[in-house]
Amino acid sequence: MKKEEAKKQVLSILVENQPGALARIAGLFSGRGYNIESLAVAPTMDAAVSRMTIMTRGDHAVLEQIKKQLNKLINVLKVVEVRKRRSVQRELAMVKVTASAEDRTELMRIVEIFRGRVVDVSHESYTVEITGKTAKIEAFLELVKPMKVGDVARTGPIALNREPL
């Protein structure tokens, strides 16, 4: 088949909340050489069903195969391709920034611009919570880089397609 450029794709997967279901999906990706850039999973309103949001990468043929392979798993209920437009995507990041006295004002200003929140304070550091599209999180991290950034925890994107109006 023709080689074309790999593109990013977010998949939203409804999966039965069974032991081993996550391992099945993760194993499918690693066993077949597919790429997982991020993965977020939690139960839905139905406790028996979890939603998994996976960001992957591949050309058209690979993405088609990934969707088919996922659908083939007995525990997978539904696989939805998250559209690039007409969807809402969010990621949450918590960032520990070691801010000296002179940096703190600048940090606070950046946090405010990004509509983040300081959720923990100590003598040496602020822990900042920030939500938004992945690009926004990355822009924030870029801006605070000159200050000393400690631990960073990110959820990876979660997403839902928009409903028609």
Binding site: E16, R24, E64, Q65, K68, I74, L77
Partner: protein
């Protein structure tokens, strides 16, 4: 009614009409063996758990039912993995029941504990660990349903000892509620109509039959289809027997060791109709060069098989049998292109067929192909043939033509040496009145030769034909062709005396050293009432030809060095 876990298992096995279980007992399954003792469910106890799964595989394919294995936890479970992986690749419906340590010990590295559901996740269609006896009946029913429906495959159920000894109220499971597992049997109309259109337009159509034709029982439909559209038919290894080899439209197997006609025709066909095949690399050769001039109609029940390795112009997701029935009905109505327009194509194919590569017999040494040809003649092509893996398997595919489905039982996808003998045992259990022959090499027969004891114990008169060249022959052939004849690791000069070994097991042992001994030994062995092992000392460095080097286009077929003339002109023999 309150039943024990083991009793529930027995009930479900009865409901599923399981006649036989292949296995080997151990600590965690004593209770199950105890329960089955004296029941109408037959226990065939093998000598190694890999054989339990291969035997269930052979049984499943010969009987057209779900094969069942029962093994203990830990090493019993890990020993099944090769068998499960082979059945998975070849889409064979199996339920593998594994003992497990009690639930309160799981995760503690208990004696003979292993996470077998974790280990087999990538090579089962689905698997389960039963945590509560209340779930047991439902899970077992689901396991059988999943194994046999859609694209069949092995399902493993891990059974902790305490769950099997616990009691619960038992009611037969009436309805399964698998939320998202609904295999599509009935193909959509639109692609079928489009297929008919392409078929009508095609001047050089080719039909490729895969194992899916056998699994869906579509041989009769395939026959009608090919005759209606007057297209030549080739098949994969797994598809042999799907179309009668004696039919004039048959052009032989495709791929690395395929016939000249089959390989050449893929390069110039304008339409390839693949039915239940998945385009394995051994079938396509260099994938970019495969069927380049052809549009491809691809029928398969598993959507992941379509567009995985080759593009499909018309993908048809559905059961091969249903799809062919529908196509046949549409074609009967269709008065498009007269099949006469395909005459030139069929003539071209015939020319390739006449140029089929043969082998030369010799006066003083047995040729392995000759053994297979005589085996075919003496069995009138009606035996159930299992094979090991390697040269023996390919010579069988080339020189034992199959007219009926399910007569060849071989480990196609995984290529699992040691498959043939236990598979023959399973097939013999399924078909006690049929002649079952395992075609083996001296290398692979030694991988599960201990199963001769099983055959003797249960009075299963399977026959083993060993093509003994004292090499791991297929690898040796690659070394001869591509590694400058450096035979690293392939000579297996030290082997048991197979005749004495057979006798030691209580089977019959026979040997042929010269060509004139071939037929007498076969006659004697095949007529024996006991399991018989026949040791044919064959030409050591005979190769399987034609051969397409791995990764080369199918049209690049090699013949034996110095015998290039065998590729041209009509068949000839010295």
């Amino acid at each position: 009614m309150r039943l024990k876990g083991t009793q529930i298992l027995k009930e479900v096995l009865r409901e599923e009409e399981v006649e036989v279980v292949f296995g080997l007992p151990g600590g965690t399954v004593i209770d199950i063996y105890d329960e089955l003792l004296g029941s109408e469910i037959r226990n065939i106890v093998v000598r190694h758990e890999q054989a339990a799964v291969h035997a269930a595989d052979g049984y499943a394919r010969a009987a057209g039912k779900v094969g069942v294995s029962l093994v203990t936890s830990g090493p019993g479970a890990t020993n099944t993995v090769s068998g499960i992986a082979s059945a998975y690749m070849d889409s064979v419906p199996l339920v593998v029941l594994c003992g497990q340590v009690p639930t309160y010990l799981i995760g503690n590295d208990a004696f003979q504990e292993v996470d077998i559901s974790g280990i087999t996740r990538p090579c089962t269609k689905h698997n389960y660990l039963v945590r509560r006896v209340e779930d047991l009946a439902r899970i077992l029913k689901e396991a059988f349903h999943i194994a046999r429906s859609g694209r069949p495959g092995p399902v493993l159920v891990d059974l902790p000892k305490d769950v099997m000894c616990a009691r619960t109220r038992y009611r037969p499971v009436e309805r399964l509620e698998l939320k998202s597992y609904r295999p599509v049997y009935d193909p959509k109309c639109k692609p079928l109509a489009r297929a008919v259109e392409l078929i009508g337009r095609s001047r050089r159509p080719l039909v490729l039959a895969g194992g899916g034709v056998l699994l869906s029982g579509a041989s009769a439909e395939l026959r009608a289809f090919a005759r209606k559209i007057r297209a030549p038919v080739t098949s994969t290894l797994m598809g042999l027997g799907a179309f009668p080899a004696s039919d004039p439209l048959w052009i032989g197997m495709l791929g690395m060791h395929g016939t000249r006609a089959a390989n050449m025709s893929t390069a110039s066909c304008d339409l390839l109709i693949a039915v239940g095949a998945r385009f394995d690399d051994r079938v396509t050769g260099k994938v970019d060069a495969f069927a380049r001039q052809a549009e491809i109609i691809h029928i398969d029940i598993d959507p992941t098989s379509i567009r995985k390795n080759v593009p499909a112009t018309v993908p048809i997701v559905g059961d091969c049998r249903v799809a062919l029935q529908k196509l046949n009905r549409l074609l009967a109505r269709d008065n498009g292109s007269p099949p006469e327009s395909r005459q030139a194509w069929l003539q071209e194919i015939d020319a390739w067929k006449r140029g089929q590569v043969r082998y030369r017999r010799r006066e003083n040494v047995i040729k392995p192909q000759q053994v297979i040809e005589e085996l075919f003649r003496l069995t009138a092509g009606e035996a159930i043939i299992t094979t090991e893996v390697g040269q023996n398997q390919m010579w069988t595919a080339q020189y034992y033509p199959f007219d009926e489905p399910n007569r060849l039982i071989t480990s196609g996808g995984l290529g699992c040496m040691g498959f043939g003998l236990p598979a023959a045992i399973g097939a013999q259990v399924a078909s006690p009145d049929r002649l079952v022959v395992d075609v083996a090499g001296d290398g692979s027969i030694q991988m599960n030769i201990q199963e001769l004891a099983t055959a003797v114990q249960y009075g299963l008169p399977v026959k083993v034909v060993i093509l003994n060249n004292r090499y791991l022959g297929m690898v040796r052939q690659w070394q001869e062709l591509f590694y400058d004849r450096r035979y690293a690791g392939t000579p297996v000069d030290v082997a048991p005396d197979f005749v004495k070994l057979a006798e030691a097991y209580g089977a019959q042992g026979l040997r042929a050293l010269t060509p004139d001994e071939v037929v007498p030994v076969l006659e004697k062995g095949l007529c024996s009432r006991k399991p018989a092992l026949m040791d044919f000392r064959v030409a050591r460095e005979e190769g399987v030809y034609p051969m397409v080097p791995a990764g080369a286009p199918l049209t690049r077929m090699l013949t034996a060095p110095g015998e290039e003339d065998l590729l041209e002109g009509p068949a000839r023999r010295a």
